[in-house]
Symmetry: C2
Subunit: 436 residues, 2 copies
């Protein structure tokens, strides 16, 4: 192999001989000339084979299939009329690195078959761009956390205890014992607060054995979680989350605006305005006043999908915000570890964040008093003995703390206006998909 030049850098090589490697994307075979489009991660280039001059290479290309991977050494020729960079390659040697069978999918393929051949599906400009944006966006989250003195730890995903009550967990055979995949690092990140970490974050996998087939759910997801100590209340958690998201928006706008527009069709603008915060009670009043909408009785104490959608519409109109925090949910609809208000123990110091019509995360200040945790468990009908492994984290001293976790696929699907989290997932895991 010669030294490979990336296609985007070939323009500087005009007049010289260079080597490139990539996938054969298109072959147009005419009477006396072949045009072959080669693609690598950086771009596309046209290889022009004038048959009378290069009969052997022309013959070679008749047996090379679309999708094959080739190495081409040739002269880089300025060709102002060629759309791809104004150059073409006149080949001297062509080496087939990998010969492809005919692809079973194309632009017209439905999502299910495309998922069966996800590695071919991922080759599209749009899919390459989606994972590029997510790489940069996730890195921006980390940058923000680390700049702000957070410690990152990897918590175990196998646990002896079903994390939040027991339903919807995957069971693992663990050396003859029964174990489970964690639904969230909730218990462990709270443990990190008892360990004195003060500021903790983790990006890792989470599991939910939910027979859910919506566009918003997956059996295996990748989450960003953080937890912070010595907070006054849940508003400090919201402050932290809002700052982190705004940093990510800024970085994505700076580094990805062009590929978001050109490859994904999204005109992205970083949000710099404050995320509005209203209580759940205020959100009901706002829905009534602005849209004459009543949250259905079955969803009382929470929001229904239509209510979430409308609140985001209103937030955009009134506060020019794609985000809105809904705060102070009834204790009965939140987890036992949410801290209750001093003044009104029916409400807890909790919040949801909505983003472009959809809830993307729930957070709260946590109860760190072991006796009150046991009371909360009893009130939820859970035997405190079953959660004693968790309650003990707070027996030996633990600062007041709170935090939040949010699915990265869901967050970035919103950011890039993609309808399904399948679009922002490398390989989907759902009740009916376990392969490839």
């Amino acid at each position: 192999m010669n030294k490979r030049i990336q296609i985007k850098d070939l323009l500087k090589q005009a007049g010289k001989v260079a080597s490139l490697s990539g996938f054969v994307e298109k072959i147009r075979d005419q009477k006396s000339i072949q045009f072959v489009i080669i693609r690598d991660k950086s771009g596309r280039v046209q290889v022009t084979v004038f048959k009378p001059d290069l009969p052997e290479i022309a013959e070679q290309f008749t047996s090379i299939t679309v999708g094959s991977v080739v190495e081409i050494t040739g002269k880089v020729v300025a060709a102002p009329n060629v759309k791809l960079g104004g150059i073409e390659i006149v080949p001297q040697t062509v080496t087939v690195l990998s010969l492809a069978k005919l692809s079973p999918i194309d632009d017209q393929t439905g999502p299910d078959l495309a998922m069966d051949y996800r590695w071919i599906d991922l080759r599209s400009d749009k899919n390459q761009a989606i994972f590029k944006v997510m790489t940069i966006g996730e890195m921006a989250f980390r940058e923000w956390f680390i700049k702000n003195d957070f410690t990152e730890c990897h918590t175990p995903k196998i646990t002896a205890f079903p994390s939040e009550g027991g339903a919807e967990v995957f069971e693992v055979k663990y050396y003859g014992q029964k174990a489970y995949l964690t639904q969230s690092p909730q218990l462990f990140k709270q443990m990190a607060m008892a360990a004195g970490f003060e500021k903790f974050f983790e990006i890792g996998s989470q599991y939910r054995a939910e027979k859910s087939y919506t566009n918003r759910h997956a059996s295996e997801s990748f989450y960003c979680d953080f937890e912070i100590s010595y907070i006054r209340d849940h508003h400090e958690v919201m402050d932290t989350l809002e700052s982190a998201i705004k940093h990510v928006h800024k970085v994505v706008e700076k580094q990805c605006k062009d590929i978001l527009r050109d490859q994904i069709g999204v005109d992205f603008k970083a949000q710099t305005t404050k995320f509005p915060r209203i209580t759940l009670a205020e959100s009901y009043a706002l829905l009534k006043k602005e849209r004459n909408y009543d949250v259905p009785r079955a969803s009382k104490g929470d929001l229904d999908p239509e209510g979430e959608r409308l609140l985001c519409e209103i937030a955009k109109e009134k506060w020019n915000s794609d985000f809105i925090f809904i705060t102070d949910f009834p204790a009965q609809v939140r987890a036992f570890y949410s801290m209750r208000h001093d003044g009104d123990s029916t409400l807890c110091k909790s919040f949801d964040l909505l983003y472009k019509g959809l809830e993307i995360t729930s957070g709260a200040q946590r109860e760190h008093n072991p006796d009150r945790l046991r009371e909360n468990l009893v009130a939820k009908g859970i035997n405190p003995k079953d959660m004693e492994f968790y309650v003990q984290f707070f027996e030996y001293g633990c600062p007041p703390h709170g935090g939040v976790g949010f699915g990265l696929q869901r967050f970035f699907a919103r950011l890039m206006d993609q309808p399904a989290i399948r679009d922002t997932t490398f390989l989907q895991r759902s009740p009916d998909r376990l392969a490839p």
Copy 2:
């Protein structure tokens, strides 16, 4: 709660009233005076209670236990004879945020009991420093990858297929189906090459149901994996790995030299010299010549732990290197997907990296020709049909590629001279440990 000042910033507040919060680390109760040491993530400070002046606060401290979390508002007084920063706090109010029971562990506790109460064990200066260094070191790996245009993806940890042959996998009940936890993202990162990602990395969890009780193994580990396309051979994988590690060393030296020395007792120096590379055959000759050592017959085709240790000693003496690459292992001891040498098909384009006496990773160029993969499977006694889900990734065009994966706990245990990977693991998972 008042606005909290971190202890390290209190020095600037001398003469003022300030609020701090932290764990009570020590209480020395004398006849007319109490000295209380408070600790937060940033440092320690002494609170001095002169009993005749502050009888109520003195009374309060008689019922506050070590390990409790308190908020203290008081006057910051310059006290040059106080070792902790030359200040002391004269309290005005003390609020108990969390009252601690007596800790079941102390400095003398053995590792097993310490692991049972890991959240208390993690409070030590040394453990806090270990996770700080790992946060910065892991971030440095990412920075290097992203600066060099790698895409990060999260691959699934649940799979329908036991990844590398079938043994030592954890089984998961997946909606009535049998599934497994992945031993590595090997197959998926190779899939990413077939998808045209060219440069892929992931930091994520890996599972091995190995009944192994050594200091080097865990049932759940956190790995850094990368894979790159269009390589000539395995030496380009080694070049990449060496550059990434040197960047991490540089960042750790710059940002962590002090805490490594003061809290962990390690005098860290970034390695800037080249990592030597010798073939396995050369390593046998070197061991014979320099140490008169023969690798035992049972380990032939590979290295035994003593051979690894001695080679690292020799590398340090001869090349001033803590690292040494051993290359070109026999195909029979490596995985079926390792590419064989053109000239000698009994050897493959593979390598191990040793670091301070221990193997920390194995890598290779991979075979990307589906027919040769099937031949390799047959030679290993594996039915190619069982691996067809994997071989198909290479049927529709795939660039030549190679990569490597290494456990972060093991890498950082070496870097920080910690004997056991338990020391660089937040919560250990092993055959006899599933809690907390």
